[in-house]
């Protein structure tokens, strides 16, 4: 049912987005500093917001079926990075530090890509031009570690304590479901999350997955 409702919302959104992109070209191209450029840009951003609201509700409503297999960690991270609209975040550097011998892990690839994606998009959203985001993947003695390390605005301890609560958000347009979904997915993989955040310095998310035998 949730997927059906999502479809009913996404189709009109897609029509609105393509129409607005064409109008933007007509009205504002190539000088996007015009008022028309700003106004059409606002509408396009809001359409993207609505689309992400639908995606998050869909993910939250959907039961995790658990379809796990051994997956290449590097491929999963690269797939996730490719799915992120980097052109929306001009001037933020994404650095990839994935150990060459990182190998495989037992993941539900659909779910884990969603979890990685939610954290990385958050990192972009809280960063500014000139900041960098590092994605690391390495193994320590007993676990596979994935880190998403940003130089964004960071969070206070009080906020960090609430980030997994459904519907808690600090964003003006957020649903507050993104990190709740991440938390559930990582738990489903017997993993754990460490968050190290300092206001105005940045946030480090470390996901740790015990080696499976």
């Amino acid at each position: 049912m949730a997927a059906g409702v999502a479809h009913q919302i996404r189709n009109p959104l897609a029509v609105m987005k393509v129409s607005m992109e064409m109008l933007r070209e007509d009205l504002a191209y190539p000088d996007n500093d015009t008022e028309a450029g700003d106004l059409t840009g606002f509408i396009l951003n809001e359409i993207d917001t609505l689309d992400s609201v639908v995606n998050n509700f869909l993910a939250f409503a959907k039961p995790n079926r658990g379809n796990k297999s051994y997956e290449s960690v590097e491929d999963l991270l690269d797939f996730t990075i490719r799915s992120i609209p980097l052109d929306k975040y001009d001037g933020i550097r994404l650095i990839r530090e994935i150990d060459s011998d990182i190998g495989e892990h037992y993941f539900d690839r659909n779910l884990i890509v969603q979890a990685f994606s939610n954290i990385i998009i958050n990192a972009f959203q809280c960063s500014e031009k000139g900041d960098r985001i590092i994605i690391r993947a390495y193994r320590n003695e007993s676990a596979l570690c994935i880190e998403i390390d940003d130089e964004g605005k960071g969070m206070s301890k009080e906020i960090v304590a609430k980030i997994y609560n459904p519907f808690f958000t600090t964003k003006e347009t957020g649903t507050g479901l993104g990190l709740s979904i991440v938390h559930r997915i990582i738990e489903d993989h017997n993993g754990s999350i460490q968050v190290d955040s300092k206001q105005d310095k940045g946030t480090l998310f470390r996901l740790m997955f015990q080696e499976t035998t």
Partner: protein, 93 residues
């Protein structure tokens, strides 16, 4: 001029995609589902590209893609969907 067939049951999506691709100098025809697309192909009209929605009544985009493959009709087909997700993408890998 390249010929494009748009297959979508949403009339507004048909219209907006038609405008978009006519601007890109495609000759555009539209139908509402996979079955109508096949009827069009079987009537002898040829296309350089098919742009098809996935979820449609009568015959959906995946059935259309499978039929084209099975019948060795070598027209590139791009699937579009409002059900976009990593899961949907993985189906085709």
């Amino acid at each position: 001029m390249k010929k494009l067939l748009i297959v979508d049951d949403e009339v507004n999506m048909q219209k907006v995609l038609s405008i978009l691709f006519r601007r890109e100098r495609y000759e555009v025809m539209t139908v509402s589902n996979g079955k109508e697309a096949l009827d069009k192909l079987e009537s002898g009209v040829s296309f350089d590209l098919i742009l098809s929605d996935m979820k449609m009544p009568r015959m959906d985009g995946i059935e259309l893609l499978k039929y084209l493959k099975k019948s060795q009709i070598n027209i590139p087909l791009i699937l579009i969907t409002a059900y976009g997700s990593h899961q949907v993408t993985y189906q085709f890998f």
